[in-house]
């Protein structure tokens, strides 16, 4: 049990990053307090709906036997759309439907609670309904704890790990995240819609605890972003992710874009008769590798969305696994520094090095150009139409005219959508380089 006002480490935010960090610290035998402003972990958190749990293999063997899951994703569709057309690339694998699984849909209220529970079981102290309002520092500027919104609310610690999510106030206060630039953020807006289990099974072609993940491009009224549709056991989550700056310029209400997506001819049949259970919106840090802040200071580490670690490279939207991966690494680094009795910045600099060796920064570094390419004007506004027109041309039977050649179709589709063949070739090369 921790001292009333002094512990080895304080972790701020009991999201996936914070729970993972607290778990590693507690396992290393350190006294750690996990602070959460919501009434329970997961109460404040919004996300799309798919968690990739592979990152948990090393810390929680056979986690899949006990994790609160809605459905295991066995079908993954990528859809390119225009208002009246849709092309799907649909992949399905039986392997994803059994242990060790790949992705799962789960509610954050359940998942975050479960993961934080693991940290508590390991010995961490979870304190809910408590907001960290600022950092405590010594004369040298070194972080020595946090201030909270409770009476006698100062909590001293040798290391503070800020896992307080996107737009982290603690990282900003520490001067690590100097300026929030709107262009590095997207706004996620989603609805959770209730449908009976059998109806979901039937409409999405699954059964039992199998689930579906549909990612969409070209469904955001020309605003850079994308859409998603995930199946839970008895609900589906449908929503869009929109560039904040472009959304502001477009002067469109985000809920209007979700409404249009729900009414799209390729999506509406999945949702007919569904009733809205929940509506939510949240920011996503999509700046990628280039926009990440410095990850440590004297006595301070930052992890998860606080450090801008969501990987949002077009057809990927992964944040929870990156939050867990970085949280675990931050917890390990902090535990090692505490063991050495030296939580200085020099010592904590092992943290980014560790992250570069793991998927967390390796993936971000490799895909660092992806946000720019995926959110580019041509990719968002022209290619969905080009691809859809090309497909329509290919599969429309024009008898008695003979079938047009592919080259002619491509030229025609490119022209109709205002893309020169030179742009096309250049973007193809760029994409190849980004995703190589």
């Amino acid at each position: 049990m921790p001292d009333a006002d002094r512990v080895d480490a304080v972790v701020v935010g009991a999201g996936p990053a914070g729970a993972a960090a607290a778990l590693e610290l507690a396992r290393a035998g350190r006294s750690v307090v996990l602070l959460e402003r919501g009434p329970f972990p997961g109460s404040k958190n919004v996300y799309g709906g798919v968690v990739y749990g592979r990152v948990l293999d090393a810390v929680l063997p056979n986690w899949w036997d006990e994790v609160p899951v809605e459905r295991w994703v066995v079908r993954r569709s990528t859809m390119v759309m225009t208002p009246t057309q849709a092309l799907s690339i649909d992949f399905r694998s039986e392997a994803w439907g059994s242990a060790p699984y790949n992705g799962m849909t789960t509610y954050r209220a359940d998942f975050d609670r479960w993961l934080a529970g693991k940290a508590v079981d390991a010995g961490a102290t979870l304190v809910t309904s408590t907001v960290a309002t600022g950092l405590l520092r010594d004369e040298g500027g070194r972080v020595i704890g946090v201030r909270t919104d409770r009476a006698d609310g100062e909590l001293r610690a040798d290391v503070v790990i800020a896992c307080d999510g996107v737009n982290s106030f603690l990282a900003k206060e520490a001067g690590l995240l100097p300026r929030a630039e709107a262009k590095h953020y997207t706004l996620g807006v989603k609805e959770v819609l209730a449908l009976p289990r059998e109806v979901i099974d039937e409409r999405f072609g699954v059964h039992g605890d199998q689930g579906v993940d549909i990612e969409m491009l070209g469904c955001t009224a020309g605003i850079p972003g994308g859409g998603f549709l995930y199946t839970n056991a008895e609900t589906v989550s449908v929503g869009v992710v929109l560039s904040v700056t472009h959304l502001a310029e477009a002067k469109v209400r985000p809920e209007q874009i979700v409404a249009d997506l729900k009414a799209h001819p390729a999506i509406f049949p999945y949702l007919r008769g569904a009733t809205v259970k929940e509506y939510a919106a949240h920011l996503i840090p999509e700046g990628g590798y280039g926009a990440m802040p410095r990850l440590y200071a004297d006595g301070l580490l930052i992890a998860g969305d606080a450090a801008g670690m969501t990987l949002a490279a077009g057809i990927w939207l992964e944040g929870v696994n990156f939050a867990i991966g970085s949280g675990l690494a931050a917890g390990r680094t902090a535990a090692a520094a505490l063991a050495a009795g030296d939580p200085s910045a020099a010592r904590l600099s092992a943290y980014p090095a560790d992250l570069h060796r793991s998927f967390v920064l390796a993936d971000h570094k490799r895909l660092r150009k992806a946000p720019e390419v995926i959110l580019s004007e041509r990719m968002q506004q022209r290619y969905p139409g080009l691809i859809a027109d090309l497909m329509e041309g290919m599969f429309t039977v024009t008898n008695p005219e003979p079938k047009p050649g592919m080259a002619a179709l491509l030229r025609r589709a490119a022209k109709r959508n205002g893309v020169s063949l030179r742009d096309l070739a250049a973007d193809g090369l760029k994409l190849g380089r980004v995703f190589r």
Partner: protein, 332 residues
């Protein structure tokens, strides 16, 4: 004071105040708070009526929070101690710890654990069970700590919702009761426990509450304070005292728990209706009465025209269209 406010003594008379309520008494009076841990948004299947509870949504109702805050204020005035008791499943401990952080002794009486998944029959049975037995268990639990000077509750729980429990507690304790209060404070000289509740027509009633008493309060006027950080940290990992109180307690027989075999949609037994007889035309005639109510036509076959006229006139008289003695002008 306006005429909309009446001052009344509570039922048990003021004598109790002097007997039990001397704030200067050397023993620290015990103030107990009954808290009800309820899933605030349980899933109810609209077709079958099956209830599924989710511990993540469970909490104490705002009125219970108000009761707790009143208890803390009165305890400060009386130099008393506060005891919070809940009858609930193990997850209720999570909600009791922040209460403990307020310097309150907490006690949980073990209750039906929620079903791990799916509909919760045990819970429905518990809800339907005799509320007096619940009151007896709460009183038994409180008495393991001491004889309460005051018991506070929220005015009604959000699941059972009868609002009767505080009255049953008062009965078990042989205490006075003042229910559905909007205010409860120590006031006057000598200091008395003063309560206020709503009456019809926007009026208010002020009561002097003797001790021992059971008071239930609305979620009004006060808000539960927050615990300081050090106490919150200490309470976060502290074990919660759990009591096993049998259902049959304090002279109350174990209630007959109605067996809820299965929760199904309400489908009334069909009424047996005999199948129709005859042809469709018969049924139509029967239903509409077409043709039936008419008299069968009379065929008149007289020998002469005068005889036919007499027969017709006779019919019209019988049917009331003509006066029987009416005479007609001579046609000749």
């Amino acid at each position: 004071m306006t005429d909309a406010t009446a001052v009344t003594d509570a039922t048990a008379g003021v004598a109790g105040v002097a007997a039990n309520g001397d704030p200067a008494s050397p023993v620290r009076p015990l103030i107990a708070v009954g808290l009800r841990f309820v899933d605030q948004r349980p899933a109810v299947n609209p077709l079958t009526g099956a209830v599924t509870r989710d511990p993540a949504g469970a909490a104490f109702a705002p009125a219970d929070g108000a009761a707790l805050e009143h208890a803390l204020r009165i305890a400060a005035a009386w130099s008393g101690t506060v005891l919070a008791v809940t009858v609930g499943p193990a997850v209720a401990d999570e909600a009791l710890r922040p209460v403990a952080a307020l310097g309150v002794r907490v006690l949980r009486v073990a209750a039906v654990e929620p079903a791990p998944a799916g509909p919760d029959r045990g819970y429905l049975a518990e809800l339907a069970a005799d509320e007096r037995a619940l009151a007896a268990r709460l009183v038994a639990a409180i008495r393991t700590v001491g004889e309460p000077a005051l018991v506070l509750c929220g005015d009604r729980s959000s699941d059972r919702g009868t609002g009767a429990l505080p009255a049953l507690l008062a009965h078990e304790l042989g205490a006075a009761q003042a229910l559905g209060l909007v205010d409860l404070r120590i006031g006057g000289d000598p200091p008395l426990l003063l309560a206020e509740r709503r009456l019809d027509g926007g009026r208010r009633e002020r009561l002097v509450v003797p001790r021992p008493a059971v008071c239930s309060v609305e979620a009004a006027g006060v808000r539960l304070r927050r615990a300081p950080l050090p106490a919150t940290l200490r309470a976060a990992r502290a074990a919660v005292e759990v009591l096993e109180v049998p259902l049959a307690t304090g002279g109350v027989a174990a209630p007959v728990v109605p067996e809820i075999g299965s929760a199904r949609a309400y489908r009334p037994r069909p009424r047996v209706i005999a199948p129709p007889v005859g042809t469709a035309r018969d049924r139509l005639r029967e239903l509409t009465g077409v043709l039936d109510r008419q008299e069968p036509p009379t065929v008149v076959q007289p020998d002469s025209a005068a005889g036919a006229a007499d027969a017709l006139l006779g019919y019209l008289s019988r049917a009331g269209y003509l006066q029987p003695d009416q005479t007609w002008p001579d046609q000749t």
